[in-house]
Subunit: 201 residues, 4 copies
DNA sequence: CATGAATGAGATTTCATTCAT
DNA sequence: GATGAATGAAATCTCATTCAT
């Protein structure tokens, strides 16, 4: 069966993950019932458990997926920059990539933003650790930008990272945004956070 | 019988609201059981219903309280400024007031941040409408600041407001912060969002 | 309210315990659903949980009750013997008391016999420890009887105890026995286990 | 194709029966899931159903096996006695054979003891009927022994049979016993139940 | 022969809510 | 004002069973 990439099970899993992201985004962890998730994936409640042993396992995988997705987008955006690009270009490309990842598949993005908080079970804690690596990545970007005075350089980079991610994540609302609106937001974020008027895009 | 009379009922109500803020902040709306709230207020579950008809009513009042608290703090901070103060001073005073309100009674602040999202029942919708007035207030401040070019002036003030509030609210974490740390955050926020280096405090 | 001995809650508790003993006796621990128990106590499933936090807690209390009941009967029977009674009289009185306790409220007895085995949760383990004290009590009786050569004296008293209790407990079947039939069984047990022809009753 | 052919299917069947005996002995009928049984037989849950149509069918066959095993051992032990052997020798040989059968493959023995009780479905009822024939066999032995006054002769042989089997079956605990310990138990049982001091072995 | 995927019923448990006292 | 007792709905999870491949 080659890579095991398109078996029936794999397709069902994807349907479940999509439905779960949708529901978690709309109603949060505790507000989402697995029956809703199953229905959204055209499945019976019992059948969910063939694919995920636990609600915590399911949400953990949703979170991990979303983080991986955003991370890949940011990495790709940066790698596509011309090699002569300065830290201003790097950071604004990252901002644009993060925002587009967040809004493009809005369910995954909103799910992370709503759920990541505080769901104490073990698998979710693991996903949170995964997400922390994402934050660390951003902190590195911020530090580099501070060296070139691209962003405020006299302040704690950790705080600055929190503010930037907080500002961006706050833009994910209840309904999908058109791509050009996401671009507008990206420009605004850069306009605020970047000292130079490096207009992205 | 005046308004805020200190009867037993009123004191109990306050205890309930405090406990509810604590629990909602820690566990979210769906994650909090009314039994926990009651226990935290040294009460039996049944007794809650003498004071609040519904879980939604209770959370709505918690939210309204928190919004009113922040609104009062911001208004007061602004009114205490010398009459010659410019928009930069006004905005940075508001930032400081908002952040202090958020962290000072962290439970209320975190409760708003965690719960406001999307709890669809009617009373919560009312509280959300109440909160929208708070956002509008901030939008007004932003617009005035844009006139003086104190903040980015070429961008949509609504988006800018969302970014600012999003950034500030993202700083409320799981544990209380010492006041001086809150001040540091306030300085950072102003440093980022205000074009002039108007240091608050 | 005096002793709290006859409140509504206490009466409901008794009804639950009776129903639980009945069901556990008939269907075993895993075979019994709490819905059946609730129905047998004229209660809704949810209401059970006001009185017992857990299925394990419930069964543990049933077991403890049954052991306490048998222990009390055996103690009382022995204490009512004339002070000149020898070990033969003591042992045969105990046999009679145990068998009558077992069959008199058959549900409790059968519940112990069927469930005590192996239900691994913590509260049941506690109940099992409680039951072990009962076995120890019998072992003491057996040892005394061995001293007087009332029962086989050349054998391990622990094994002898197991055989005696095993033989007696095997007599609890699916339906209630008339008291005179229980007496017949008691006579038979004594006839087998006691070396002297000490006829009980 | 003869009868006990050693095809793959037959070997798998044996593995299933062994695993089932183990699980039923450890957790009882309702406490055992077919998935556990399958796993213990290195099989998938679905594959079980190729060999057994129903959980009840499976447990029935386990019970029948165990009864047949014990019956064969008892019969063989008796048939190996010298033809001049009296009823005392016969009974004590039977006791030894039963106890060894019970403890030798402890899983089967314990499975019978734990499960035989009351699993109301039809196939189990059939197995219980099968077991009743085993009890009847013992009752016959007891009656013969009563004729020779080898055991208590003035008592109901049915009751005496129950006591004897109950005593012996009570010795099967949670862990396997060394053979010499089983011999000790057999001696004790004979010492108690047989009027003459016919020491077995 | 065996497996993977799905189903539907039922189990324990939690919880918002009600109401007599 | 407060409590204790009860209810009914819903949630997570387990399990015997089926069937296409």
């Amino acid at each position: 069966m080659a890579d095991g990439l398109d078996t029936k099970a794999v397709r069902t899993r994807q349907r479940i993950l999509a439905s779960a992201a949708r529901e978690f985004a709309a109603r949060g962890f505790d507000g989402t019932s697995l029956r809703q998730v199953a229905a959204g994936a055209d499945l019976t409640l019992g059948s969910l458990y063939f694919h995920f042993a636990t609600k915590a396992d399911l949400v953990a995988e949703v979170l991990r997926d979303a983080v991986d997705f955003a991370l890949a987008r940011v990495d790709q955006a940066i790698s596509e920059l011309p090699s002569a690009a300065g830290n201003a270009e790097v950071l604004s490309a990252a901002v644009r990539a993060h925002l587009h990842a967040l809004h493009e598949s809005r369910d995954r993005g909103a799910a992370v933003v709503r759920v990541m908080d505080r769901a104490s079970t073990a698998p979710v804690a693991a996903a949170r650790a995964h997400a922390r690596r994402y934050i660390t990545r951003w902190c590195t970007l911020i530090k580099s930008a501070q060296c070139d005075n691209v962003v405020s350089s006299g302040v704690d980079p950790r705080i600055l990272t929190d503010l930037l991610l907080g500002a961006m994540n706050a833009t994910v609302g209840s309904r999908q945004l058109a791509p050009h609106r996401v671009d507008t937001i990206a420009v605004t974020v850069c306009d605020v956070f970047l000292r130079t008027a490096a207009s992205p895009g």
